[in-house]
């Protein structure tokens, strides 16, 4: 479990340093795998049946479909690279981890599992990526990371939400990614780039 957590955070931190979209998507896939595994482990611990299903769903949707569709897009975006100040976001990511663990140990020590801090950290890093990255794909990746974080959070404070809701959430995430992929596609099509920093025409 601890290993997974460490891997997860490491992946997230690395995620803040990659500039190639495809690498990012790859790391995201890895991350999702880890989450699925975490889910599985929780299932084994608690013996909750729906945990297994949740794990499977994670595997299928997050690792399978989402990564696949993102990969598909990145194939068309050969020349798109992320250009941002990686060091800053890297440091921020580290900071996020420290802060979140500190927060957990200080404020709610009674529920300080290994994963909770990681979950919060992951969420923050995801948010950080949405804010600090301008590549459309990178923002999507950030979004998924954030969602993973939330999911993990759910796992660690409660034993996961009821299955039906989980499925709904998964479905939503899937659709969201599909929509975003379509939009990215169109962005490439009509702006010749997926760098969202040029999307600032609508003002006032």
């Amino acid at each position: 479990m601890t290993l997974l957590t460490i891997l997860l955070l490491a992946g997230a931190v690395i995620l803040t340093r990659v500039s190639s979209l495809r690498t990012a998507v790859g790391i995201l896939g890895l991350q999702s795998v880890i989450v699925a595994l975490a889910c599985l482990i929780f299932g084994l611990k608690t013996g909750e049946f729906h945990m297994y299903i949740a794990a499977v769903l994670t595997a299928v949707i997050k690792v399978g479909l989402i990564v696949y569709s993102l990969w598909r897009v990145t194939l068309q975006l050969k020349h798109e690279r992320e250009i941002a100040n990686f060091n800053v976001s890297f440091l921020l990511a580290i900071l996020a981890i420290i802060v979140s663990y500190g927060f957990v140990n200080k404020v709610l020590p009674h529920m300080a599992g290994e994963t909770l801090g990681a979950a919060i950290a992951l969420t923050m890093i995801g948010l950080l990526m949405i804010i600090a990255r301008s590549q459309a794909i990178m923002q999507v990746v950030g979004l998924i990371t954030m969602e993973n974080g939330l999911y993990l959070l759910g796992l660690s404070i409660t034993k996961g939400l009821p299955l039906i809701i989980e499925m709904g959430i998964f479905f939503d995430i899937l659709v969201a990614v599909v929509v975003l992929v379509i939009l990215t596609h169109r962005l490439k099509y009509s702006f010749e780039t997926t760098d969202t920093s040029i999307l600032n025409e609508l003002k006032g």
Binding site: L183, T196, G204
Partner: protein, 487 residues
């Protein structure tokens, strides 16, 4: 009852699927018209039923007076929007903004959107409600991006991004709420609204307060409360006008509904003081922030969008005051605003089609180009600015009255003053567009009667609403207010 609700949920999906399979535009139009009419009919039937059985709840579905109020809004707007879409999209195709094969997609998405909104209103589980709200975002996102031109894409991208981030916060909040529930009573009936309402006083206040903050921000983003409203003007201005009407009238209200549902539970735990203060603050802020953008604006649809922000602010203030009268007024305001604002968006749709622009400066002399539209437009503007004898004045007045009843002299006065600011902006541009001299390229145009019918319907409701409120509706609102207060 269950069947009715099921029908209301399934019908749009079915119609949507049919639409996708069809090629012939005329068939598509009529199917959708019939479909929306039927859906609205069913929803009205549900409301009718509610007035008899007061509340319907099953494992995942829950409908009571509060949902009835919002269902009414959705029913009205779905119908008018679909009706208005027929001539509007036809013209869009003629003008070459859209191709014929985009039309089926449009109607399909419209139906999906309706489905999402209805499901927000009928589910009785906060988790599913979150799913449904996110669903509305996704369904409307592609409608916002419908034209797939640069600005539409930009708007859609921002819309999805901001709303998803916001909604993720709401998910976080919901999870925390669930955590509170688990801590208090275990996992039975997870996040079931009715159950939570009953056990709300046993939850841990600190955790619930934490949950409240995230839920408020999350659904507040969707409801377009400042300063999370930033996506709103972009999305509203870029979507096709019928969709803008739906977004502004129905979607925002649905998001607000989700917020209220959560708040009903939360206030059972942490009391109302904090909640009301925050809501009041956000409400005032929304009205305040809307003013500058209404006072100086170049795009007529953005103008209306910001006025929506202002009205969401007013509604927030209403719930923030929190007396039965205030909540009653706020709910009535939701209905009134939905009707008026959608009508205005439709009108602006016609106008911008006629003038081939949304720039206020280039829209001149509507009164002489399309007298009927000009008349309706002026009435609509007067309504949206809360001028009697039109419907919004009533709710506005009740709201202000409630504030004064609560001894909020200064806040009430301030609100009135801020409304004047918005009035100044809207009236200024409305007059410039309507009565200025006609540019020579424009000549007298005739408007499709269908479009006028769609708008005329809303207009009649506005005018009637200004002089007469059906007792049945009044009863629904009163009961809904009781539910919100937690009586």
């Amino acid at each position: 009852m269950f069947e009715l609700i099921l029908a209301a949920l399934v019908l749009p999906i079915v119609v949507g699927l049919i639409t996708l399979t069809q090629k012939n535009l005329t068939t598509i139009r009529y199917t959708n018209l019939a479909g929306s009419a039927l859906t609205s009919g069913i929803i009205l039937a549900i409301i009718r039923k509610i007035t008899e059985i007061k509340v319907f709840s099953s494992e995942f579905l829950y409908v009571d007076y509060l949902s009835a109020v919002l269902l009414l809004v959705v029913a009205l707007l779905t119908f008018t929007a679909t009706l208005f879409s027929l001539p509007y999209m036809e013209r869009e195709v003629k003008e070459g903004h859209a191709t014929e094969k985009m039309i089926p997609r449009y109607y399909a998405l419209l139906n999906l959107f309706t489905f999402a909104m209805v499901s927000v209103l009928v589910v009785g589980n906060l988790g599913l409600m979150w799913v449904a709200v996110e669903g509305t975002t996704l369904a409307s996102a592609l409608l916002v991006a419908f034209y797939f031109n640069r600005s539409a894409l930009e708007a859609a991208w921002k819309y999805v991004m901001i709303c998803t981030v916001g909604i993720c916060l709401a998910l976080l909040g919901t999870m925390i709420l669930y955590y509170a529930q688990v801590n208090a009573v275990g996992e039975t009936q997870a996040l079931n609204w009715l159950y939570l309402k009953q056990i709300s006083n046993t939850l841990n206040p600190t955790i619930v307060k934490l949950a409240f903050v995230f839920i408020l921000i999350g659904y507040g983003t969707k409801a377009g409360l400042a300063p999370m409203h930033t996506w709103l003007p972009d999305a509203h201005s870029q979507a096709p006008s019928p969709v803008s009407g739906l977004l502004s009238g129905a979607l925002l209200s649905c998001a607000f509904y989700a917020l209220i549902r959560n708040i009903i539970i939360i206030q059972g735990t942490i009391g109302t003081e904090f909640i009301h203060t925050v809501l009041l603050g956000l409400g005032i802020l929304s009205v305040l922030l809307a003013i500058p953008f209404v006072l100086v604006q170049h795009d007529v649809k953005r103008l209306l969008a910001y006025s929506s922000v202002e009205h969401m602010g007013i509604i927030a203030i209403g719930f923030g005051v929190g007396t039965p009268l205030a909540v009653y007024a706020a709910l009535l305001h939701i209905i009134n605003h939905a009707i008026a604002k959608s009508a205005l968006f439709y009108l602006v749709g016609i106008i911008s089609q006629e003038y081939k622009t949304r720039h206020i400066k280039e829209i001149q002399g509507i009164a002489r180009v399309m007298p009927s539209v000009a008349t309706m437009f002026m009435i609509g503007i007067l309504a949206i600015t809360g001028t009697p004898p039109l419907n919004i004045f009533i709710s506005k007045f009740l709201l202000i009255m409630a504030m004064f009843e609560n001894k909020m002299w200064l806040l009430g006065g301030l609100t009135l003053l801020l409304l004047v600011g918005v009035f100044a902006g809207l009236m200024n541009y409305a007059l410039k567009m309507t009565f200025s001299n006609v540019p020579e390229k424009m000549k007298r145009a005739n408007v499709s009667p269908v479009a006028l019918t769609a708008i005329g319907l809303s207009l009649c409701l506005m005018i009637i609403g200004g002089v007469y409120l059906p007792p049945i509706l009044s009863e629904i609102l009163t009961k809904a207010a009781e539910i919100v207060i937690g009586g």
